[in-house]
Symmetry: D2
Subunit: 341 residues, 4 copies
Amino acid sequence: MQMGVIGLGRMGANIVRRLLQNNHECVVFNRTLEKVKQLVSEGAIGTYSLDDFVQKLDKPRAIWLMVPAGEPTEQMVKELAAKLDSGDILIDGGNSYYIDDIRRANDLMQKGIHYLDVGTSGGVWGLERGYCMMIGGSGMAVQYLDPIFKSLAPGRGDILRTAGREKMGGTAEEGYLHCGSHGAGHFVKMVHNGIEYGLMAAYAEGLNILHHANVGKHNRVANAETTPLRNPEHYQYDLNLPDIAEVWRRGSVIASWLLDLTAIALLEQPDLSGFEGQVSDSGEGRWTIAAAIDEGTPVPVLSAALYQRFSSRGENDFADKLLSAMRFQFGGHVEQQALKK
Amino acid sequence: MQMGVIGLGRMGANIVRRLLQNNHECVVFNRTLEKVKQLVSEGAIGTYSLDDFVQKLDKPRAIWLMVPAGEPTEQMVKELAAKLDSGDILIDGGNSYYIDDIRRANDLMQKGIHYLDVGTSGGVWGLERGYCMMIGGSGMAVQYLDPIFKSLAPGRGDILRTAGREKMGGTAEEGYLHCGSHGAGHFVKMVHNGIEYGLMAAYAEGLNILHHANVGKHNRVANAETTPLRNPEHYQYDLNLPDIAEVWRRGSVIASWLLDLTAIALLEQPDLSGFEGQVSDSGEGRWTIAAAIDEGTPVPVLSAALYQRFSSRGENDFADKLLSAMRFQFGGHVEQQALKK
Amino acid sequence: MQMGVIGLGRMGANIVRRLLQNNHECVVFNRTLEKVKQLVSEGAIGTYSLDDFVQKLDKPRAIWLMVPAGEPTEQMVKELAAKLDSGDILIDGGNSYYIDDIRRANDLMQKGIHYLDVGTSGGVWGLERGYCMMIGGSGMAVQYLDPIFKSLAPGRGDILRTAGREKMGGTAEEGYLHCGSHGAGHFVKMVHNGIEYGLMAAYAEGLNILHHANVGKHNRVANAETTPLRNPEHYQYDLNLPDIAEVWRRGSVIASWLLDLTAIALLEQPDLSGFEGQVSDSGEGRWTIAAAIDEGTPVPVLSAALYQRFSSRGENDFADKLLSAMRFQFGGHVEQQALKK
Amino acid sequence: MQMGVIGLGRMGANIVRRLLQNNHECVVFNRTLEKVKQLVSEGAIGTYSLDDFVQKLDKPRAIWLMVPAGEPTEQMVKELAAKLDSGDILIDGGNSYYIDDIRRANDLMQKGIHYLDVGTSGGVWGLERGYCMMIGGSGMAVQYLDPIFKSLAPGRGDILRTAGREKMGGTAEEGYLHCGSHGAGHFVKMVHNGIEYGLMAAYAEGLNILHHANVGKHNRVANAETTPLRNPEHYQYDLNLPDIAEVWRRGSVIASWLLDLTAIALLEQPDLSGFEGQVSDSGEGRWTIAAAIDEGTPVPVLSAALYQRFSSRGENDFADKLLSAMRFQFGGHVEQQALKK
């Protein structure tokens, strides 16, 4: 099947490669021509302007956009809208906010253009493992592109089958799913990422407890500002975190792909000294909380995970200073740090 | 190798079975004789009193305790301490508080008895998948029992090897690990369960957001006490949760064993109407938070997960009533629920 | 000074009364005529249609809107916009979302109408105590209406002066403040309410701990699903909560007006049995979190307070059921509640 | 009445002063003699050894200990126990863990010595405002010392009386309260401090939102790692925090003594640049969470407040690095900070 792909960054390029490996025809375009040339050398059909790109595609055109969410995607959708014809299909495979999808889909529908929002998970491992895809939009367009989704998805693999699935149809077991109407794909992907933040924070907090399990060995300054540790003999463990992450990978309740990656990271560098701990957040975690609040759904865990990222970047500094200032006001407490100087 | 096992509940019986399958000799004892008979019929050597049990074991004896944590374990350790000899090894394979382990190990060491604390994860699936074991105590005793641990553990299986592990020795890849001195096994297992609570809550919160993704379809009473939904058109999705859990199992960043189980549970009963949502917590989640607080390690995610379980059992009712009472005092706000009646 | 007031509910009527008490002239209007008549009997000038209302006001007209936020306010602003003249001042004294203020102010500015957003705190006690007002909009209009704000505000009273304030001007000490441009008043009021949720939750949680301080007296079922209390002798207190709330009112660090109200509520009904604990939330708490997320500001406490309100209304039920379902899957754990039946 | 006071730090010295002001006789002792001399010059009876101190007190002796919690208090209680007689009363007015109180009270009871635990709130302002006291121990001893507590407490003052209190007796309105048996005083004080952490965090978070209300003015780097702010026009406010804290002090729902102190702190130094934001925590906040967990009482707000203090001191650094490490593993995400270098 033919697919046009715009945006040949890490994700886009690998999607082209996986499609080529599955004998699909890929027409590609990218602002930076170098990347086009690279993929042409791997079997793709290169184009060097948007008009060229649109002309080289058979009708009804199928186009996969893989450009950064926000303005870049917004601009590209607008430009393409002017060039496409009724019946064409435009896929946003990036991390757009689902509310933008709803708006765009409604706008494009006026021109008869189908818009699909496809939340794509898999990161740098997707080329090899396949991409988990959550799809929103008209069922007809999804059905039409089924061969594409099937090729990009991981497939059933040797993962243990969920009891009862043998009696059901559907594509969920293949690793892709038509979730619902416009925006549903990115909505589900958004929540997926929200969960991801929560899972990551659960591992990070637990491993941090293990990391501090030897606090009883340290002499802590005892003064009115510092709580002494009542039972230092209970905190005398120097634990091997790379080994612990590894042992949990087999047979434990908390085995997961994120744990696999954690084991890799800790083995590479047990003290993680190559990192500063300023944790970025892309939009999905925030949008997840915003959606939960709109719905009135309590999400203490997912929120705590997001806020920790904010704090890791110093966004709580003013609040912390205010706490010290209040303590100084009511109790004359002077900050410990300040005393050191 | 020979192993004595006391406590033939679900976990204990399956441990015996897995040892028998691996050609170890098992001498078993249980307060309820029926369970002893059952395992004798499967190849174990039955005993019908604690004295009988102790006599039938070769010296140095190796005994695996699998009785409920707290008083039952405490009592059994005391009774055995009086009957065992120097050089014997006593394993607590239950969910003891690691602080009890430290105390017991020190007491037993006076008599020359080795005490190992083995945190065991795997639940009802362990017989088939093997048990992930986190071990605390003297390295010599752990070394001596290596054949037992190896048999109970899952082994490497076909799980992708962590890059760099090929250059290292150790047993972590086999699914068991000597974590450190007395209590270290249950300490690591405790934190493992704390993480488990966090992971479970992350999935539950995320899926709850998806569950409420159709709130825009419902007419909500508009009054001064209720915030209207500003954009009902953004919450019109009736999502298929069993399919979504299934699709995430393949290729996504949040794939995990807990997700596999979630997919099973949701497929069996998509509305989960067979559950009331009163979520129990065994001790490990609480002890994890207590340890974190002693250490001064922040654990907002793991705490939120624990507190949600408390709330699910009505433990926040008084606080909720107090909030309503305050609102009535300052604003004359009357509870919505009360208005209905 | 003359002020037109639309919306004679509890808040609006009391604002009229406080203005009348301070010798201002009030022209009033309300959809329900009964309320107009009542205030006429107390000295206000009644009007019985919006046109009548607009005509009875001197130019430049000053109008205080006190109708429910959302659609009712939106509609009334639109209707008035068509009838007012350049130079008139329209005040939204309700709980509007500040983003709506920004939009409305910009729209009305096209017609030369000044729009002020005034966040008003004080609840049912405001008539007596005065209203704390946070004001957004053009400084000129705020300045023009200064006599009105001064009358409605509490004034300095006998509250201890903040050291250094004697050297400063401004109205903050009077209990009203021009916070900034359009929306700033409701932005500050929004955060005020967000803080209010956090304060209320802090008291509620703390008092709930005191409420449960006798858990050691109860026999708790001991089974594999329930953590036994290790030291029941530490939880033998039957505490008198009304007295404790009362004693904290004098000399303690946590004295506050909310604590005063808590003391009243607990004295009236120590077991709070008249409340069901379904806690409403109006929009400000949610908008506060949304703003914090936009800003990247961590707000774990304010979020937890909001989510507890959601949970109190059953919005976490599905998530709780899912946790029980997962526990059943991996451990065969059956819900305690279910066992009872 | 006569009272012996040991420990003449800030709190202890002021307690002596307030007692002297109320015509009580104070026998004082302190390891550092300088402080004894100072209080002798203010009217106290000085003693220069513990034996001297004990001898100068009339029987039954009443002794107020005001030394740091933990080891210093523990040692002093032991030393005094050897010197006191049956019928004497020993008061721990510090911040002891209530579990230590229960133990000490039981030990001292063997010798007929009464032990009272008195949680004392008021900080550096107590001399002037009076101390809020929460008292645990035998009712008889509390009754005997009533003149002392009455003098130290703030008294009713001009605080508005709680409706219904006029029909009741008791001392709560005076600012001191016999809460229950041994440990009850420090238990209630512990929770008081837990609430204090929550209140402080609520104000700090809210004011931090206001502090960031101008984020829309800053150009934020737009890249794949950073979420762009969708509506910068909504975050254009440069808010005057000292004025906002001040205006909330009058008539608002969130007025409190902590807010009074916040207003002072912000007026003194609006940018709080004199503080580093490393927030200490004394034991009570931690013990509050530990008690809540034992009870099964959910305390998300109080916990979040405690954890933020831990994070402010860098205790989350390892967890943050681990999050960055995971992100690098699955997505090749490189930390923003690292990129800058």
